[in-house]
């Protein structure tokens, strides 16, 4: 289990600063709107018989996605150390779940490759409910450091979360970069 040493504390402090920038820079309403209505419907209503159908229909507005992607890339680089950014989003059609809307690097606290949604609970729910930056307990066995930044729409409602995750500096092994 990795301990929260001085280096890790410093990294977390930096990530909290990046999280504040993320909250300011990412437009949650624009992100929600970039997913087509049909894609959102299939994300929310996966067909148990045709499991790939939700993925087949997934589509986004190119320009909006690219803008968000580039913003997340820049956020990663602000940290000054390898740190991956991913935008989790609520959708009107989703109940108690969030979907990944855009991501850059491969490392995540909730690596659900191939799954369209994950339950909205724990720290993700806390971040959305409070509208505040949330720092995840780094002393678990994931060897990951994570900070969550709320993302708001034009009404001031928290509708998404930017996840910033990096490896603990004392991690013994490099997480697979090829997810």
């Amino acid at each position: 289990m990795a301990k929260l040493n001085a280096k890790a504390r410093k990294m977390l402090a930096t990530m909290k600063d990046v999280a504040r920038v993320a909250t300011a820079m990412v437009d949650g309403e624009e992100a929600q709107a970039m997913i087509t209505e049909r894609a959102a419907h299939h994300v929310a209503n996966p067909d148990p018989k045709y499991r790939s159908m939700a993925g087949d229909y997934y589509d986004v507005d190119h320009a909006t996605f690219l803008r968000i992607k580039k913003t997340l890339i820049r956020l990663e680089r602000v940290a000054g150390f390898p740190c991956n950014a991913r935008l989790w989003l609520t959708l009107d059609v989703l109940e108690d779940q969030v979907t990944t809307a855009c991501q850059v690097g491969p490392i995540s606290r909730w690596p659900k490759f191939g799954r369209a949604t994950i339950p909205l609970d724990g720290e993700l729910a806390e971040c959305l409910g409070s509208g505040q930056t949330v720092v995840l307990d780094p002393e678990d066995d994931t060897e990951l450091l994570t900070v969550l930044a709320p993302v708001f729409d034009s009404l001031g409602d928290a509708v998404g979360v930017v996840e910033l995750t990096t490896q603990h500096p004392a991690a013994k092994r490099i997480a697979p970069i090829w997810n």
Binding site: D47, D56, D59, K69, A101, A116, P176
Partner: protein, 606 residues
């Protein structure tokens, strides 16, 4: 019904199969057709039971086979009995024999259901190894039968005629023999198959790397050796192997691409050591001069691989931050030009280097589909990538191709991407587009199609249908999309291994992959198609003969599109509206007799 007559064991299934073996008081040796698997109790796999008898033994109890030179002929040997024994095999006339013990995979079963065990992984028999029945390692209660696989290789210079040999079982001072007779034909297989049967895979399979050692040659030694050995096994089985080195995020493992240093006009590709260690022996062919661990010495000539994926993707070598801006093109063209220059400098100019996008937008890393685009609007990205790539590789001696794995938009893509050095790998919808495929091939482009691999419990001859479809369509290749991942526990909780034709050999003390029965049957099928192809070409009317075959083999080669495919754009297609499955999952044709390939083999060896 089983009847023992004068020391010879006869099997008669209700279907009319005949098997004959030699018996002592304790052990029996029986020859069985390569397409009929038996469980550890001597019962044939139900999906292999044919309405047509295909015994391979003659009246004297000898296994009788026929083979072209420069190729293999195979059969199974069932050892039945109890106790310790040794097995060996030999042939006269310079023919070479490879003997392998089959592993019985315990198939996953619902709770309360009795498990089924079917053979597939093949463990080479080395030296004078003593076996036991029941086999303690395979751990099957009441096991009475052990299947072995026999490959007989007929060298190119073997003398035509009947050659004798023997499979021998020795136990407690007694010997049981199974005579083998191989009729060697005058004809010889071509060195290169007429169709390319590809086996696809993803990454080197490293779960994690010790911190600070991401680029350490020591860390990558075993993964590189494993990849080379997979190449060797598939090559020896008349196939090819592809291994993609980046995944959906675009991150590249260090053995697949050099490090990118600097940005913009200063971008450089550096540290080629790991890339060269992995790719060098494949691109110059030297990897094939030696065999995979446990495998016999190479019988096919060493040659550069057919082709390879490159690491080029939306974030390599260029930074996606600059996509749509001039900096992206500067970085992309600098990186690809340096990559091409490295290949030329090394003399690696024989293998088709594939510029290919594997990402799908459903995974949320990119806004467009690189692989199997569903939305025509995404083609703008492909066209822009091709424009930049061609600007720096057009005059290269490296045989670059733009590989497009196409499904939904296949027909539109054929038109939109016309005029480039395309390599198409088409999904199941290819069956709707015979005319379009012919036109694309007439433009000089490469056409493959892709699909799945039959799981172990389906008909043993099922793996041959993809080879037949490839040849009957007149396209150049078939890609089985995932072939080196047999699952978490292929030995005792087997999911059918539809994504694995090779198995890890470590369990048996072999530091590398081992082949499967399905791979052997596939190889033998490729051989048959090579002979059939020659026959049709020599007849001078190949297209007409191919059409005759399409009529006589009950496998649909071309089909009419689903009505919805006419009325809806591909963006609105899905499996329910099309009433067609588009995923590359093997679907057994239960109307097909398990011995259907005999029609082809009979003609090939006539």
């Amino acid at each position: 019904m089983t009847v023992a007559i004068r020391g010879t064991l006869w099997y008669h299934f209700a279907t009319g199969h005949g098997l004959r073996g030699q018996m002592t008081s304790e052990f029996t040796l029986t020859a069985a057709h390569e397409w009929i698997a038996h469980d550890p109790f001597g019962r044939p796999k139900p999906t292999d039971v044919s309405a047509n008898a295909h015994s391979i033994t003659n009246d004297q109890g000898a296994a009788t086979l026929c083979a072209a030179r420069n190729g293999y002929v195979s059969f199974r040997v069932l050892v039945q009995g109890a106790g310790e024994y040794r097995l060996s095999a030999s042939m006269r006339g310079g023919l070479e024999v490879d003997l392998s013990r089959a592993w019985y995979h315990r198939m996953a079963a619902d709770e309360g259901e009795p498990p089924q065990w079917w053979p597939d992984a093949l463990v080479p028999v080395r030296g004078r190894k003593t076996y036991q029945l029941p086999d303690p390692d395979n751990a099957i209660d009441g096991q009475t039968t052990q299947e072995f696989w026999v490959d007989v290789f007929v060298p190119k210079d073997a003398k035509p005629g009947v050659v004798s040999g023997r499979v021998r079982l020795s136990t407690g001072g007694e010997t049981v023999s199974l005579p083998v007779k191989v009729r060697v034909l005058e004809t010889a297989l071509p060195d290169e198959p007429c169709v390319t049967v590809d086996h696809n895979s993803y990454s080197a399979g490293m779960d994690a790397v010790p911190r600070g050692q991401l680029t350490s040659p020591r860390v990558w030694r075993r993964p590189i050796a494993d990849l080379h050995n997979r190449h060797r096994l598939f090559h020896e089985h008349r196939g090819v192997f592809h291994n993609l080195g980046y995944k959906q995020s675009g991150a590249v493992e260090p053995i697949y691409g050099p490090r990118v240093e600097g940005r913009g006009r200063d971008l450089r590709l550096v540290d080629w050591e790991l890339f060269d260690q992995y790719h060098g022996p494949l691109l110059d062919g030297s990897a094939f001069a030696t065999a995979a661990p446990g495998a016999p010495a190479p019988r096919r000539a060493a040659a550069p691989i057919w082709g390879a994926y490159t690491p080029i993707n939306p974030i390599w070598p260029a930074d996606y931050l600059w996509w749509g801006e001039k900096g992206y093109e500067v970085e992309f063209t600098r990186g690809v030009r340096q990559f091409d220059a490295h290949l030329r400098e090394k003399g690696w100019t024989h293998s088709r280097m594939q510029f290919f996008f594997n990402h799908k937008k459903r995974h949320r890393w990119f806004e467009w589909d690189g692989d199997e685009p569903k939305f025509l609007k995404d083609m703008g990205y492909h066209k822009e990538m091709i424009r930049m790539w061609e600007s720096v590789t057009a005059d290269s001696p490296v045989p670059w191709v733009y590989r497009m794995d196409a499904s939904w938009q296949m027909k539109n893509q054929f038109a939109v991407l016309a005029g480039h050095r395309n390599m198409w790998v088409c999904g199941g919808f290819i069956t709707w587009y015979p005319d379009e495929v012919r036109q694309v091939m007439a433009r000089g482009e490469i056409v493959w199609w892709y699909g799945g691999t039959p799981p172990i419990h389906t008909a043993s001859s099922g793996i041959l249908s993809a080879i037949y479809r490839t040849w009957a369509r007149g396209v150049q290749g078939f890609c089985a999309w995932s072939t080196v991942n047999p699952g978490k526990d292929p030995w005792f909780d087997c999911n059918g291994c539809a994504t694995g034709l090779l198995y890890p050999g470590d369990r048996f003390g072999i530091p590398g992959p081992i082949p499967s029965i399905r791979l052997k049957i596939e190889r033998n099928g490729i051989q048959d198609i090579d002979l059939l192809d020659r026959v049709t070409k020599e007849a001078g009317n190949a297209d007409a003969l191919r059409e005759d075959w399409r009529r006589s083999i009950p496998i649909p080669v071309w089909e009419k599109p689903s009505p919805s495919a006419y009325s809806l754009p591909p963006e609105d297609w899905d499996s329910p509206t099309l009433a067609a499955e588009h995923e590359p999952v093997y679907q057994a044709d239960e109307t097909l007799d398990p011995s259907w390939w005999q029609h082809i083999r009979g003609r090939a060896l006539a």
